[in-house]
Amino acid sequence: GESVGLHLPTLSVQEGDNSIINCAYSNSASDYFIWYKQESGKGPQFIIDIRSNMDKRQGQRVTVLLNKTVKHLSLQIAATQPGDSAVYFCAETRKAAGNKLTFGGGTRVLVKP
């Protein structure tokens, strides 16, 4: 596969444990945030999104938390599985700016059996 994320920070997690991936964003005017998962050799896959009028949103095994005060976003993955091993990116946008996404640096998650 492709060597995406070779130099990215890495989070090692034991299978079955919960994972928390953090992201700091810079633009206080951003009003829409997305988490993507990118597996080796593939394009980013949408996981979950959240709008700035919310501070928490839950999906299947994932929860996104938004703290606008400190411009911080986190993705929590419950009961991490081997298939969760990938690089995770947060992205921010401002609807008034034409929905152009600005991506964070990414975090590699390695799930240990």
Binding site: V4, L6, Y32, K42, G43, N99
Partner: protein, 118 residues
Amino acid sequence: SAVISQKPSRDICQRGTSLTIQCQVDSQVTMMFWYRQQPGQSLTLIATANQGSEATYESGFVIDKFPISRPNLTFSTLTVSNMSPEDSSIYLCSVEYFFLLDRTDTQYFGPGTRLTVL
């Protein structure tokens, strides 16, 4: 979500040549975008591909180097011109897809084109 395909999936090209990458969507979408992902790095927006008008380029990207076409609402091409080894990257197209059910729209990505320039 929309099904997005890209051609070619990968290529190895010689310095000084050009490569055109195609992006096809299975439904009509208004907004299409092109991104670059350099080795080991995050994604950077190259341009927004507008149907019926010229693409809108981000700072650091110019039309002469990355000409874009958007002939209809399901298709776009990105050309990487006069390539050098520094152009070796993954090139990704994305589309903004609107979900009527919850009135949200978000971007979905194609599988990417992995370009190596020798």
